[in-house]
Symmetry: C2
Subunit: 213 residues, 2 copies
DNA sequence: CTTGCCATGTTAGTAAGTCTAACATATGTT
DNA sequence: AACATATGTTAGACTTACTAACATGGCAAG
């Protein structure tokens, strides 16, 4: 089937090609020309759909945030509400996502310039973190944890984000090939989640109480 | 003083120009041509001193690691040995370094390809982290902390690295303008440092015992 | 001192990439 | 059926990384 002149789905085809190329060649290895070649159009064609290269990548990043959020949501529902496993599953999903598409992850969180609050990438990023906060809020409520859930979520995010960055950039590996990210995450998140003050003035289950010492 | 033909110090001049340009324009905004313009030479001149663009940047990154290590060492000596303040000062220096030269920091830790153990950037990175481990080992010994100091250092590094990345990439700011990195770091590192098992079978000062609750 | 080597610079040119302008074609609305 | 518009193309301007061939001048051997 020859699309003699008009492609028909060029916009989405370019977004898909861009994501695939970022995955294959890295964020700095990606060229618009490459994406055009893959989509079978001339190098001028994208400019009917996007202002510039950056704008295509924004779509890719937004889609990346959607995928990440969806992945975390799926992982969460597989664990009981309020369980520490549910929180840990979020971090695990985050890490796995980044390991599957490191360059995409790096671009998603490395968009320094995009400080405009209404920017598409910023919005998706917000809703992604918003989901994490919701989960932590639930965890704190069900476990009668005292303190600001937002602050706890931020600490966990910071930890997991650090572990993810050091993993996908190969920094752990540069130090030693015996470093286990999982171990670091498990130990540290255990400390962050379970050495918290509890409200003991109310009855009910305390889900985190039976964690390994 | 006209350097009519031969520059004399071109190699170092190019490294300096590269670092300055990375600071000013970001890692993706840096071009070799720019550095040549700033050094006052033609665009072919660098190739007498470096194989390619990447090789200049490697020198910049190595110098960056040296600066970071030196900065942390200076910050450490300003605090008493074995004190938690000394450990926290390392993290603080790490963060400040990255905030001063975000693009440089990102490149220093984002060199995915450089997995060759004898590579100049890898070596400097190793010795940088090695310094941190030494400090944590000292802390653990003076505070009779049980457990692998390396593992504790890795947790702290992971946390601080995450906080640094989320700060310089503006990710905290995208979520909310009320987020304080310092608070996150203080809370989390407190948990990572002070909820550790201690050996109580020996006398001596326990430096961390008087930390704020 | 002079001669010539060679380290280090230059100019010119290639290939790739982003993006613009002017032109071409298909699609669908009247 | 005819035109307006959306969406493609080709040609080209400009930037960049890098190479090849040439130029210059500092320095060492005679």
């Amino acid at each position: 089937m020859k699309k003699s002149y008009h492609h028909g789905e060029l916009r989405q085809a370019l977004i898909d090609a861009a994501r695939a190329l970022v995955r294959e060649k890295g964020d700095d290895g990606f060229s618009l020309s490459d994406a055009c070649r893959r989509a079978g159009v001339s190098t001028a064609a994208p400019y009917r759909h996007f202002a510039d290269k950056h704008e295509i990548l924004d779509e890719v990043l937004a889609q990346g945030f959607d995928d990440l959020t969806a992945g975390m949501a799926a992982a969460a529902t597989a664990e009981p509400a309020g369980s520490p496993q549910r929180i840990l599953a979020l971090g695990h999903t985050y890490l796995k996502f980044a390991m599957a598409e490191p360059a995409l992850f790096r671009m998603m969180f490395g968009q320094k310039a995009d400080t405009a609050p209404d920017h598409i990438v910023v919005q998706r990023g917000k809703s992604c973190f918003g989901f994490v906060v919701e989960e932590v809020v639930t965890f704190c409520r069900l476990n009668r944890v005292q303190g600001d859930a937002m602050l706890i979520a931020l600490q966990l995010w910071t930890l997991v984000h650090g572990a993810t960055g050091l993993t996908i950039d190969g920094d752990y590996a540069k130090i030693s090939d015996a470093i286990e990210v999982g171990q670091i995450l498990a130990l540290a998140s255990d400390r962050l989640l379970f050495s918290l003050p509890r409200r003991m003035d109310a009855p009910g289950p305390i889900a985190g109480e039976d964690h390994v010492e």
